[in-house]
Symmetry: C2
């Protein structure tokens, strides 16, 4: 039973979670704290050190062989630094080096949260057994990660799969990232709600203007709500089709709060995909809901720190048939 | 000197070329025929068999260790078949099996022409030494291929890097592929000329309406010609930025006839790229002209058939830093 656990750290703009994950993907110990996202760099780091300290206090800690970190991005895996958009106190913050102060000599792997979600879905979720897949989160933002040749492709800096900020509408609205017509600018939850409101949808008496409320209205037939989800679906379809044309994927896994809309999103998404994924080698592409839920961050961070699994020999990893 | 050559075959809609290529990328023997593109499947195959027969007739043939095929797409490398858009007689044509009738027991590798161009630029041209790159041809169509982790990423079917048919304008004009707002629909040579003409550009007395003529007019300051290249540049920039966000590339290599426009294309392309490639990990992306010219098809087909080169150990190929 020695060295069969990985310490996983999931750093987001809202919460910092940590856990001990075994080689079957089971989480044995789980701790979390709110992210003090508006505080200075050291206050945020104190929260990370605190959750890691709780893990170290467990008798299971002696079985830990590696540390995996998934962080809100952008990250720079080669430098070991993170600059989460929603944690302004951290800019090129040396998270790997600082985590090592707590975890000692253990190897540490850092990836972006999109890559972590993809690693989790590939290991334990909807992309299990897939050779080539895009896994994405559609929520307050839109993120993602790529499985290529049977394994995670984090890219040199850990940010690959960043589908939220590819432009599918080159003359479209300016995005906070500086680009135009990004997938996120059209398909994120807040943009779905914004567009529905602008086109005449009115929230219920509770005043709930979330994407979930728009989804409920769409299910009830509200035309502005339906149209807003259809527009989001077109943007997602164009982005997924682009990914398929560029790297050849067999499956797109879609998770996050907006995916919780179910058929309101997936029916127009699959319809739009037939319009944009037209070439012979991408026509078989399937779109499926994610399975890992909120555990994806921890499980994916753990996956990144585990050694290559037996079903991933080098020949597959190298992309050879 | 034994077994140091590869037989390379480059099948396009206009010509079929073949050559013997050494392990340094030098072409020792080169033969070509026009593609009888409007003829039936067997007539096209006869032309392939003829060029291969010329290679076999050479005393150098005894040194050949493998056969590499780059073909106009779509191809299906896993099935060994090709369905070139501009050769209607070939649909799921078993090119690999048919080539083997001439080349015997030698191993045969098939990739798409975009992947072949990328392999050539990575081996001998503008992407030499790059770990992650997109190489593209902007000509009558727009094609491309990807280098990921220091080696060619053809994808399971050999079509990866298909940047010409990703949508950068989801409400845009219908493309012959069935999609909308594809990069090719905006940035190919014929579309550059079409848009310039529609906006008031008038060709010279010779009536030349090629993209090269539009480029000459743009250099002379014709506003419709300048604007048409700028529009093409924006579409290419959005596509290149999307590729960078999805797979992390450090360089985009642009070749083909339209790239011959030089600054008329590259200046607005680099400017537009700053608008679309905004995230920290893609901002350093460079765009450079291709170097391999018309040899790219043969050299790239040869590269696909060569064993992995020493500078490409498995750890790099697997995408690990």
């Amino acid at each position: 039973m020695q060295n069969d656990l990985v310490a996983a750290l999931d750093v987001g703009g809202t919460k910092i979670a940590a856990g001990l994950v075994d080689t079957d993907g089971r989480i044995h110990l789980r701790v979390r704290r709110p992210t003090p996202a508006r505080e200075d760099a050291e206050t945020v780091m104190d929260a990370v050190t605190a959750v890691l300290g709780e893990l170290r206090g467990s008798p299971l800690w002696t079985r830990v062989s590696a540390v995996g970190i998934g962080s809100a991005g952008p990250v720079d895996a080669s430098a070991g630094t993170v600059s989460p958009v929603n944690v302004p106190g951290w800019r090129a913050f040396p998270l790997v080096e600082r985590v090592r102060l707590t975890t000692g000599e253990l190897p540490v792997e850092l990836i972006g949260d999109g890559a972590a979600m993809a690693a989790a879905e590939h290991w334990q979720g909807a992309a299990r057994g897939c050779r080539d897949a895009l896994c994405m989160v559609v929520s307050t933002g839109v993120g993602g990660g790529l499985i290529i040749g049977g394994r995670l492709h984090p890219g040199p800096t850990g940010n690959a799969g960043h589908i939220g900020h590819i432009s599918v509408d080159l003359d479209g609205d300016l995005c906070p990232c500086g680009g135009r017509g990004c997938v996120e600018r059209i398909a994120s939850g807040p943009n779905i709600a914004r567009r529905a409101l602008a086109n005449g949808w009115r929230p219920g008496p509770g005043g709930d203007t979330s994407a979930a409320a728009v989804a409920a209205a769409a299910r009830a037939g509200d035309p502005a709500a339906v149209a807003s989800f259809e527009r989001a679906a077109r943007a997602l379809a164009a982005g997924i089709a682009a990914t398929a044309g560029l790297v050849e994927i067999e499956t797109a896994v879609v998770g996050g709060g907006v995916a919780g809309a179910g058929d309101v999103l997936f029916v127009p998404l699959r319809r739009a995909l037939r319009e944009y994924a037209t070439l012979s080698f991408v026509r078989g592409l399937t779109v499926v809901p994610a399975l890992m839920g909120t555990d994806a961050g921890l499980v994916g961070a753990a996956a990144a720190a585990l050694p290559a699994r037996p079903e991933e020999p080098a020949a597959i990893a190298a992309g050879r048939p």
